[in-house]
């Protein structure tokens, strides 16, 4: 019951944030140089089309009225049309989401699981040589520009060794269904996932290291040791269980960062996801897509943070107040 109320409360909190995002978007369009209708309609649009656009977005109305219409339009899921293809932006974006989810999700899983394991392991010996070395290494890892790492992986594994495919998600003309199809996708995922997971791994090693060692310094851990639990139990039931909380939160908060990495990685590996769409939109200056992607990504991150908060509340009895 209290959890439900908490969920309700958090959902309510999202609303103003979402509104602000849309307002920022609106302001950006209006502050950008050039006629808004041209921006929305494309430069070679004919006057009739421009007029439709002006009417649809109410561009001849007072500023606040415009803002209101814009809000209504966006919140009803209408993000306009792509300049290049004339397709509704929302559809274009939704088409690409599964591929991005596959890539980002797998990388996240690899990074989070491996990173938490390594971070927890080194948290057992804070200040040791191994700890310093791995911590330093993990900082170095997340300082790597992910697109560059991707290039290096391509250079080594695809160009030099010719071991792995360097781009795309499927073999053209390869199997389109069944196990073969799945294997094919997995095979194409190796390099992009490696690139993305490597960078995130650094993040997670560090996060896990910091939060686990912070938890291990808590007195309830000492209580656990005094009770006589073996160190393995201490690590799981006390250390990891409590350290997971901040990890989960950070997961939600850093989703924006993760998406950034995903976009850049998709660009390098021609992964047909959202990032690729955005990249192509940038090449084509297809502003409606870029804006739509920004708003949708913001909403995604907000929802993710909402979900992690709720998850947190479910994991941590202290939150439900």
């Amino acid at each position: 019951m209290r959890l439900l109320r908490y969920v309700f409360y958090r959902v309510l909190q999202i609303v103003p944030v979402a509104l602000i995002v849309v307002v920022i978007n609106f302001l950006l369009i209006h502050l950008a140089p050039g006629d808004v209708s041209i921006l929305l309609a494309g430069e070679d649009a004919n006057p009739e089309f421009m007029a439709t656009i002006r009417e649809r977005y109410g561009l001849d109305e007072p500023f606040l009225q415009q803002l209101w219409s814009y809000l209504v339009t966006i919140l009803s899921g209408d993000f306009g049309q792509s300049y290049r293809t004339g397709e509704p932006v929302i559809g274009l974006i939704m088409e690409r989401v599964p591929a991005t989810l596959l890539l980002a999700g797998s990388s996240l899983a690899v990074a989070a699981i491996l990173g938490t394991a390594i971070g927890t392991a080194i948290a057992r010996r804070p200040g040791s040589f191994l700890d310093t070395a791995i911590t330093t290494l993990s900082i170095a890892l997340f300082s790597i520009p992910v697109f560059w790492l991707g290039l290096m992986l391509i250079l080594f594994f695809a160009v030099r060794l010719q071991l792995l495919p360097s781009s795309g998600m499927i073999t053209i003309g390869g199997p389109r269904d069944g196990l073969g199809h799945i294997l094919d996708i997995l095979w194409h995922m190796v390099l992009p996932v490696a690139a993305l997971a490597t960078v995130w791994l650094g993040q997670y090693v560090r996060l896990a290291r910091v939060s686990v060692s912070e938890v291990l310094a808590e007195s309830y851990v000492t209580t656990g040791r005094a009770i006589g639990y073996p160190e393995r139990t201490i690590m799981t039931r006390f250390g990891l269980r409590n350290a997971l909380l901040p990890l989960v939160t950070v997961l939600g908060l850093e989703l924006g960062l993760l998406l950034t990495g995903a976009v850049l990685t998709e660009t390098v590996f021609a992964w047909p996801g959202l990032g690729r769409l955005i990249y192509e939109a940038i090449l084509a200056r297809d502003t409606p897509i870029i804006m739509g992607a920004f708003v949708i990504m913001s909403f995604t991150v907000m929802i993710a943070s909402l979900v992690t908060d709720i998850l947190y509340a479910a994991l941590d009895p202290r939150v439900r107040l």
Partner: protein, 521 residues
Amino acid sequence: MNFGRLLLTAAVALAPAVAVADVTLVVPQLDEPRTLSPDPAADTGAYAATSNIYSHLVVMDWGVVAGTPAYGDLAESWDISEDGSVYTFHLHPDAKWHDGEPLTSEDVKFTFDRIREKKYPYSAFLSGVKTIETPDDDTVVITLDKPNMAFVPMMAQAAGWTGKIYPKHIWESEEGFDTGPAVNNPIGSGPFKFVRWDKGVAVELEANEDYFRGPPKIDRLIFRPMPDANVARAEFDAGQFPHLPYDYAPPLAEAPALEADPSITVTYTPSHYSRDIQLNTQREPLNNLKVREAIATGIDREMISILGFSGTWKPAMHANVDTQTQWINRDVSFPEYDKEKAEAMLDEAGYPRGDGGWRFALSVTGPSYSDCRAINEVLVQQLRDIGIDAKLEAFDQSTWYQRMQQRNFDISCYFTRYGPDPDAYREHFGTGGQRNFMGYSNPEFDELGARAVTLTNVDERKKLYAEMQAMLVRDMPYINLVNEQKMSLSRAGWAGFPLMESGYNKSVTWFGYYAVTPPAE
């Protein structure tokens, strides 16, 4: 061991029962189509697919460099009246629409009338048409208001992009070629039929077994939008597709290594294009001839050739390209590179070096082709060397094209076409010419061009075109830089790609894949 190959082996081993596997040809292309109806507006992403779906009246392919200005597509043959003003086209009697309807002269007339009525881009090539008559189902008679020697070659050359023949029975009820269900579900009469278009992924076509020239050797033709040359290259290396079109040519410095590879065929195709720069003659300070001359003097073509093309694209000093041996005027040349002189000329033109050593600022843009990008990089540096604060401005293809049309540029890399008929000069440099973005307007030039196209005597035409070339070098609305030479790659065993000699006069258009044959088993 390559995993893909492993899979393939496995698939082959597991499926001996399947008699003959479909031959699929995947072709990468730079842009995603906007629509699949290319006639109403420029749409670089749509040309390749639609050129294989639709037929044209007359066409042309890279065979032009071997001397064929045009050949028939739907037209089996054509007759030209004595005075050169009445063209009678005899259509292929077996031509059929993909929905089974017969293709008749009415369809051609319908299409051309609508193009002219709606002023679609192709109307530029039909501007001299007085009447279109259809005495019978297989005959189209086009009467021009005055003789035009370039009529067929120009129609043929433009057919690569627009001038598709649309089925009357489908489109009659529509406003134009941009409305209705057939826009993105095209029904043509070409060698391939439309199957589906996965937006952002691929346009898929299949062989038209009823094609009037006989079914193609390819069962499935897929166009994949791939803006990134690296990706295309990687996929080609990975064996994902057998042909790497010239758009994606790897850096020319890699050519020696590629040529040494027995599994790859490297094809070089000279063309009737150059790479040059168009100067916006209506903008300060490029409206000043002295400035344009100085810029021409400040450009080191050899360096451009070396840095941009490993020296394989030869400098172009005249207002034509080397393949047009018949028409080129070698007596007039753009100025030789001389940095000091260029600087002096700019000083003289009233643009001495000022703050920070700059004379004036301008932007350099161009299409997204890698050759133009390379040229621009070098060009900007060379302009900066003579004190012009040049900056790069990059856009995607269609945005760039829009900006050119709006004459919203200073200097742009361009690809002037000199064939298949020299009448092309008018399109580029004539007042109001379709590709005259420079704002160049010279009545004398226009007059010569208009006269030259009506002359049936080749020597007389030659003289006029030589004169026009002299004017271009004199007025310098553009500066020729290098001769284009396409490089394309294909997997050994594959033949009939439009840039290969085996594809000449068979591939249908520049984008046609009708002539392609897979390797023998």
